[in-house]
Symmetry: C2
Subunit: 120 residues, 2 copies
């Protein structure tokens, strides 16, 4: 096989391996959404927000105190989480209360914690 049949800057070592795996690979969109999901929880601040909201519903000010960060910073991150559909909110007077809106997030945390407790 010549290198030009594939799109990399090298020769193909194992053609059948490449083709076999290519067939099994999900499409680009799936990977983008998967990576976006993990990127979403791949930030210390958002991790802590989600963990806190898994304990109980909280308003922005409470979260700011729990995380020891400014309301503005928390609010920006909550907007990200809201847009991604992993948290939802309800307004009550001047306050806005947030809670988790996704069971999978908790599962991901559990598996993630297993991982880091298992490793050094």
């Amino acid at each position: 096989m010549s290198r030009n049949e594939f799109f990399c800057d090298c020769n193909v070592i194992h053609q059948e391996a490449v083709l076999e795996v290519l067939q099994k690979m999900p499409d680009e969109n799936t990977f983008n959404r998967l990576a976006d999901l993990f990127k979403l929880i791949g930030d210390t601040t958002r991790c802590r927000i989600l963990f806190a909201l898994d304990q109980r519903e909280m308003c922005v000010c409470d979260l700011a105190n729990v995380l020891n960060m400014t309301k503005s910073s928390i609010s920006h991150q909550l907007a990200v989480l809201r847009r991604s559909g992993v948290v939802k909110c309800r307004k009550s007077g001047k306050e806005v209360y947030y809670e988790l809106d996704d069971d999978h997030i908790v599962k991901l945390f559990e598996v993630g914690l297993e991982h880091i407790n298992h490793k050094g």
Copy 2:
């Protein structure tokens, strides 16, 4: 309660909620490691590499062809994955074969895929 007992730029709305959640929160190190884990798989390229390696062991050149990217780019990302202990490699002649070295990664993928299939 005065605002100065807490560290945020606002008053505390629900003191007991804050204290209760604070008690349940893991320490900083745990969140850093958790976020780092998710950040690790929160990248399209690394997602695809890990997915491919979950199908079978592959060398760098094969991976480059599967992902349609340069060897250099793949190699950089493999170094990241190696340092984090989620892949391991063995050398054979001129080639270096990589494989998954972490069961949790596959579990995380499964839960992640459930999530994105469940949502729109």
